[in-house]
Amino acid sequence: MADEEKFDAVVVGAGPAGSAAAITMAKAGLQVALLERGQKPGSKNVMGGILYNHYLEEIVGEAWKEAPLERPIIEERRWMMTQDAYIGLDYKNLRNRAKPHSFSVLRARFDPWFAEQAEKAGAMVVPETVVDRLIVKNNRVVGVATGRGDDLYAEVVVVCEGIGLGTGLLEKTAINGQPLRRKLRPNEVAMAAKEIMQLEPRLIEERFNCEPGEGCTIECFGDSTMGMSGFMFIYTNKDTLSVGGGALLSEFNATLRSPNQLLEHFKNHPSVKPLLRGAETVEYLGHLIPEGGYRGIPKVYGPGYLVCGDAAMLSNPVHREGSNLAMESGRLAGETVVHAKETGDFSERRLAEYRGRLDHSWIMADMKKYDKAVPLLEHNPQMLTKYPQVADRALDEFFRVDGTSKWDKQSKILKMIRKEGALRMGWDTFKALWAMK
């Protein structure tokens, strides 16, 4: 291939990370190809999903307001569930109306728009193209081999392929005999399933106590995941609900439950069922979510390549954040390549700047902060099973008016907590706080 046909960067995958990287580089005048294996960007992409406009605005400016988003999130609900009850924390902030910071989103609608911004900035978007492997020459990634039989060469390959299907590009590429990423373990990924359920906007607004066009999230812990480490959710879209959730793949293996069984269990909870009544399932989806924490992050740069988003295991499951880490890491990778182009230096040392940018950003700060959160729940199932039940019984006693004096009720509750192991609960609370310090 002639030199002038070599790209500055080839980006693998037109999700939030890939499009963010492509936009950043194309805006700076670099020659960029953005490859996508689906019929169009978004065809293969799944998230809960809540998207944060701050990061979108950083990348596309005021144009974010034209993005096909569903509903601004005005209210956040968190439910701790038992079999037939829930204890909720609802937070509704009407100031969110004037200045929303998060939106529900459907990725097959959003991703094509985001990739279009890359195209407008001058990137070449190529759908229906699988990258079969990275081309390595003299221990440097120099391009990609596509399923179309073409080889594309570039100074840098930005890998934004997501968590990957089967053996990922990094896993099957070796430099100096070392694969670029090790195989993921079943306790480093959550298996999530989701249904998109159609419901009249008027009914969504009545059931979720929203003004027209405004939205609400409900995230549920405890019995909602049958005690497995994970959570379930309901997000309100324009005329659909996103209903889903998941748990560590290792816990599905330990319990021999299926994702659909979990989904049905949640949909049939007495507090959830009435919210979904009459809603018709219009799409069923499944996806893996990286939950390996800080320790699970692979090497994110190397000779001729950078890794962003889910492919770099960047996600914060405790705060259900992922697309923002993808966009931000894509932008930082893009800026690194722009700087490399400006200095005419695409060496590994120059590309290592990306890791430095990540380390100095909130991304790595958050990844470190929540490093132990997922293992904590994995190893302490009582936090999601027994404790919600204790709280449920205590509140039942507290609220029930049944001819018992309040003094008697109080001592009954205290006795119950003591019997369930007050010390253990105190210690577990401390552990939970410590894990997220």
Binding site: N45, R109, F110, D111, T129, G166, L249, F252, L288
Partner: protein
């Protein structure tokens, strides 16, 4: 909608006829070593179904929604999968 088979009808598939993108590496491992038949459970699309008569896992790769769980979830590293060709396989309309 409760049944998985009904839910899978909502997914748009572009079928790449005859080209399997998933393979069981060694069916004897499924038959002799694997007691849990884990893939039969964790796969969100029910792609894997153990057939006791044939002593093998039947793979309905056409139902795959491309989550990637199989190659990570199989404790025996006995499933390989890769992306269908560009433009083929599950194509989400909503996402």
């Amino acid at each position: 909608m409760e049944k998985l088979s009904d839910k899978l009808f909502t997914v748009k598939y572009v079928e790449d006829t005859g080209r399997a993108h998933i393979e069981i590496v060694d069916q004897t491992v499924c038959a002799t070593k694997c007691e849990g038949k884990y893939c039969n459970h964790f796969c969100p699309a029910g792609v894997y179904e153990w057939n006791e008569e044939q002593k093998k896992n039947l793979v309905s790769f056409g139902n795959c929604i491309e989550c990637g769980a199989c190659s990570i979830g199989c404790p025996f590293d006995n499933i390989t999968c890769h992306s269908p060709r560009g433009g083929f396989g599950a194509q989400y309309r909503l996402g």
